[in-house]
């Protein structure tokens, strides 16, 4: 489990994260959403031990990430937004670097590369950005580690690769693996990310599972105007309206509409979701 308690971080005088508290349960695929500059990447680099918190505490299964103990590092993998084009064949890279992760599975790596239609025998510095990214995604999933942090993994992927990514993530993460994926491409990841975390400037606006969101908010696609809509948006063929769920019936959560609703009604949403039903 990942426990983040009152952490703060700043770049010089520029405070990015302030007093952030949240918990991440194991075996979930978290989506980390937030506007540009709210500190999504910073949070990921703090979790994987690349940066040190200025205040507060991060605890991952009893480890402080910044101590970077080998036993901690071998159970996590961070896939950054930018990836290195190493002059090495993908298969050689997997063989050489996979050994740092105890449960690295080279068979799984080959299968994933196959799903992504990327050639293992190609040199990584000869690959296109998308192919390179898919190589690293395959590597990350093949590590079989407990904690996987991915920063904008679908950036630079072509259209078929996005559905391949969803399939790969769903099929190839172990039951006890926790994935934290930061993204702006919510449509790429719809139906995959659950729970959803919405980070704001120095605040966590939402950290809730899709079923809890559907219990508390109604996403109405019917086009009949609702007087108490918190958010509404015209779409071809009608509209999406979001309002507090009073009927008890669940609807399909639309992540973009959710994001916009949460941003317009920060306090109301926080209040709505702080009442945890048992």
């Amino acid at each position: 489990m990942i426990s983040i308690e009152n952490i703060s971080f700043s770049y010089g005088k520029n405070t990015v994260l302030k007093d952030i508290t949240m918990q991440l349960e194991e075996g979930r695929i978290y989506g980390l959403l937030g506007e540009n500059g709210v500190g999504k990447t910073t949070l990921l680099t703090l979790l994987c031990g690349l940066k040190k918190v200025k205040a507060g505490k991060i605890d991952i299964d009893g480890y402080d990430p910044f101590e970077r103990k080998p036993s901690f590092l071998s159970m996590e993998y961070f896939l950054g937004d930018e990836v290195a084009a190493i002059p090495m064949k993908a298969s050689d890279y997997a063989r050489n670097y996979g050994r740092f992760w105890e449960k690295f599975d080279s068979g799984k790596f080959a299968e994933l590369m196959d799903i992504f239609e990327t050639d293992c025998s190609q040199k990584m510095n000869r690959m296109s950005f998308g192919q390179l990214k898919k190589t690293y995604i395959s590597f990350a999933l093949a590590c079989n580690c407990r904690y996987l942090f991915m920063d904008e993994p679908t950036n630079g992927l072509d259209i078929p690769s996005k559905s391949q990514f969803r399939k790969a993530v769903s099929r190839y993460t172990a039951d006890d693996t926790t994935l934290l994926i930061s993204t702006h491409q919510v449509r790429d990841l719809e139906n995959i990310i659950d729970p959803i975390i919405i980070l704001d400037r120095q605040d966590v606006l939402l950290n809730a599972g899709v079923s809890e969101i559907a219990e508390k908010l109604t996403f109405d696609y019917s086009g009949e105007r609702h007087a108490d809509a918190l958010y509404s948006e015209l779409i071809p063929g009608g509209s999406i309206q979001v309002y507090v769920n009073t009927s008890g019936e669940e609807s399909k959560v639309n992540i973009e509409a959710l994001f916009n609703t949460v941003h317009r009604h920060k306090e109301l949403i926080k209040g709505l979701f702080s009442r945890k039903e048992q």
Partner: protein, 111 residues
């Protein structure tokens, strides 16, 4: 799989399994894919598929053999038929009647 209706994804997965039972593609005693395989096939979070399987299990449509997987119950077809008939009368018929009255159609015009 294309998800376009307004129902939650986990219910749409239930619907899809039920439709395949009614259509005869899934037979009593037959095994259905594991949560992870099915999630991988349709690009959906395995926890969502798990929720669908739990709902179908509660309804008696599928059952879980520990350590082996999920299977279609012997009387799955009857249960699905009864549930869907009930839902059709409760949800769809009123909508059809409403639309018919809007368009000034009577049952004799159709049947």
């Amino acid at each position: 799989m294309e998800f376009d209706s307004n129902r939650p994804i986990y219910l749409q997965i239930c619907d899809s399994v039920c439709d395949r039972i009614l259509g005869g593609e899934l037979q009593p005693g037959g095994r259905i894919p594991s949560v992870r395989d099915y999630g991988g096939e349709i690009g959906v979070n395995p926890n969502t598929v798990m929720r669908s399987y739990e709902k179908l299990t509660d309804a008696g449509i599928i059952f879980n053999k520990r350590g082996i997987g999920y299977f279609i119950a012997d009387n799955a077809r009857e249960i699905v038929l009864e549930k869907q008939r009930e839902a059709f009368i409760r949800n769809e018929v009123p909508q059809i009647l409403k639309k018919m009255s809007l368009l000034g159609l009577s049952p004799e015009d159709i049947f």
